[in-house]
């Protein structure tokens, strides 16, 4: 790509936002950063990737952590900061990429080439998707969705001023249960291409 473009996809659990991010990555021919981000960081730092992944997008436990001169013993926060620093470094290097979650819409807000999307879905559609993906009962799927969404919300709202899922924090909020993943991806692609055209 000639112009730098960063597509930040935030998503409700079970909405299919990650699948849309994968489609956009392929369509624009740019890398996708999700949990693989920690694998890259682990390789760079020569450490075990699983030890980092255990704290991926996990909210900080206040009771068991302290802050001293801007430093903290919270592993959740330190892992989050490793990811934020990685994203900032990639963005500063002029790279284009799609990033899923990781507070990217806030972390990279200073980059005018960043397009922020929030993907949501209808409750029934999300339950159906999670039931199929993890072979769960309806009740278990709903529990999982609520638990994961709560975790994402807590994680996001700790690091960002704007609230998770609040449409005012994103360029585009879209419910993919109406049109399905492919057509929703088409709309987002069209929107991103228009944004690229507008870039100086």
């Amino acid at each position: 790509m000639d112009k730098q473009i960063i597509i930040s996809i935030s998503r409700e659990y079970g909405s299919g936002g990650h699948a849309i991010a994968e489609m956009l990555s392929k369509r624009f021919g740019i890398p996708l950063y999700d949990s693989n981000l920690l694998e890259i960081i682990a390789t760079e730092k020569n450490v075990d990737k699983d030890s980092l992944k255990a704290y991926d997008e996990v909210p900080r436990v206040r009771l068991f952590s302290r802050r001293v001169k801007g430093q903290t013993n919270s592993l959740e926060e330190n892992v989050a900061n490793l990811q934020f620093d990685f994203l900032k470094k990639k963005a500063a290097a002029g790279e284009s990429f799609v990033v899923v979650g990781r507070c990217s819409e806030s972390v990279l807000k200073d980059y005018s080439c960043m397009v922020s999307i929030f993907v949501l879905g209808n409750k029934e559609a999300k339950i159906k998707r999670i039931m199929g993906l993890y072979n769960l009962s309806e009740d278990d799927a709903l529990d999982k969705i609520e638990r994961e969404n709560f975790r994402r919300k807590m994680y996001h709202n700790y690091y960002c001023k704007g609230k998770w899922g609040d449409s005012r924090n994103y360029d585009l909020s879209i419910n993919d249960s109406i049109l399905g993943l492919d057509k929703t991806a088409d709309i987002i692609e069209e929107y991103v291409r228009k944004r690229i055209e507008l870039m100086a």
Partner: protein, 448 residues
């Protein structure tokens, strides 16, 4: 009665807000301090004397605050001597860091031991202990952990064992002197103990404990102290490259030497720690005139404000007689058995400091041990050394017990090495129990 209840509520509120970290801790203590002044002293007690006594402004015009001539410095209310001394040391440490002193020292030692992992492990533990005797443990660990991570990447070993051991030794070193750890500064200035008295009491305990600590950490970590290098050629960092300015480096070394001499001799010279703090700050700023503003900006004013608020809140507990009630409660439990009292003060201080900030704990406990000493006829100095050792060492047990722990764990995490509660406590908690046990044995043998 109403004043006492409100004072306790404000104190508990302050502790809870510090632990939850929803509001910066300096705002918490200052806000709670203001509440104490207005609600407890102003509305409930209607005592302007209590307000002035707690603010302790008049101490500045007391000649004994600067040089001990007639007797003892004032000790009630805000402990301005502690605040001024910490300010002075902060300026000096910033100057030393600017000159590259700490990194230079770490690299020199690593070079001197020929970059052997086990030797670096042992020497860095000792260096951490010695530096923390005079410099705050946060700064010691900030630099030591950074160099440890750098060397671990170069020599291909895990920095985690080394960082845990360095943290522990920094906290232990801090317990050895009056200026090593904030609780000691507060205890020393509040109860009028000299640097020399600390060294010959808590210092002796720390040095004896250090021998066991080195042995313990070597035994538990020896299998991890191996380099994975396979004959690769390495370009080692040169210590002299760490020095940013030779002139500043020399001047900061001299100032550090002067600070150490002034502290060691302050009982003889009569200079108080407040005077030493001001003097050290002034000569540091004069030696780096072009960077004076920068150094002053880098001073951690939030911590100083935190101290001011904290002293007011503790002053509130003191004025309302709450701390006397706590002392009376401890005295009732112990009966006339001083040995049990020592054990209670030591272990409660250690356990509390493992989970909550040891500075407010120590500040609160000082009036308590003063009352215990007066009512039970126990030598105050024994209780003071017990409190100092308990609060300083107890903080080593958990990742949140002391500031150095947080800074060290954060430095490791930035390099991708995560030290969680389980991993940290597995090694540090037994070491803490060992040192507290040794300390208790020394206190019993020496003072009873």
């Amino acid at each position: 009665m109403a004043a006492q209840i409100i004072a306790v509520i404000i104190f508990v509120l302050m502790f809870l807000l510090i632990v939850t970290e929803r509001i910066p801790r300096h705002f918490v203590t200052l806000g709670c301090g203001l509440l104490m002044l207005i609600v407890v002293f102003g509305i409930c007690m209607r005592s302007s004397d209590a307000v002035w006594e707690t603010l302790n402004i008049r101490t500045f015009v007391d000649p004994d605050f600067w040089v001990l001539i007639n007797g003892e410095e004032s000790s009630s209310g805000i402990n301005w001597a502690t605040i001024i001394f910490i300010f002075g040391m902060m300026v000096m440490v910033e100057g030393m860091a600017k000159a590259g002193f700490f990194r230079w020292l770490c690299l020199c030692i690593a070079k001197a031991v020929k970059y052997k992992v086990t030797s670096i492990f042992l020497t860095f533990m000792i260096m951490s202990f010695i530096l923390a005797m005079f410099i705050d443990s946060i700064t010691v660990i900030l630099f030591l952990a950074a160099v440890t991570v750098e060397l671990s990447q170069l020599l291909k070993f895990s920095p985690v064992p080394m960082i845990i051991a360095e943290i522990f030794c920094a906290n232990l070193g801090g317990s050895a002197t009056m200026c090593g750890d904030p609780p000691n500064i507060i205890i020393g200035t509040s109860l009028h103990y000299s640097f020399g008295q600390f060294v010959t009491n808590t210092g002796l305990i720390a040095v004896i404990s250090m021998v066991f600590v080195i042995l313990y950490f070597y035994l538990v970590f020896r299998k991890h102290l191996k380099s994975d290098l396979k004959g690769e050629k390495i370009k080692y960092p040169e210590p002299k490259e760490a020095i940013t300015s030779k002139r500043y480096f020399i001047s900061s070394c001299i100032i550090f030497g002067i600070a150490v001499i002034l502290l060691i001799t302050h009982a003889q010279t009569g200079l108080t720690v407040a005077t030493i703090g001001i003097f050290i700050a002034v000569i540091t700023l004069l030696s780096m005139p072009r960077h004076a503003i920068e150094l002053l900006k880098k001073v951690d004013y939030e911590t100083l404000i935190f101290f001011i608020g904290l002293f007011i809140v503790v002053g509130g507990l003191e004025q309302t007689g709450i701390l006397e009630l706590i002392a009376g409660f401890i005295a009732t439990i112990c009966g006339d058995k001083v040995i049990i009292m020592i054990a209670i003060v030591l272990w409660i201080s250690a356990i509390a400091s493992a989970f909550v900030d040891n500075i407010p704990f120590a500040a609160t406990m000082i009036p308590v041990i003063k009352t215990l000493s007066a009512t039970m006829g126990v030598d105050l100095s024994i209780l003071a050394w017990t409190l100092a050792v308990g609060t300083d060492i107890g903080g080593s047990a958990t990742p949140i017990g002391a500031s150095a722990n947080v800074v060290g764990i954060s430095a490791a995490a930035k390099s991708g090495h995560l030290i969680g509660w389980g991993r940290y406590c597995k090694y540090a908690a037994p070491a803490t129990v060992i040192v507290i046990g040794i300390s208790m044995a020394i206190i019993y043998v020496r003072y009873f």
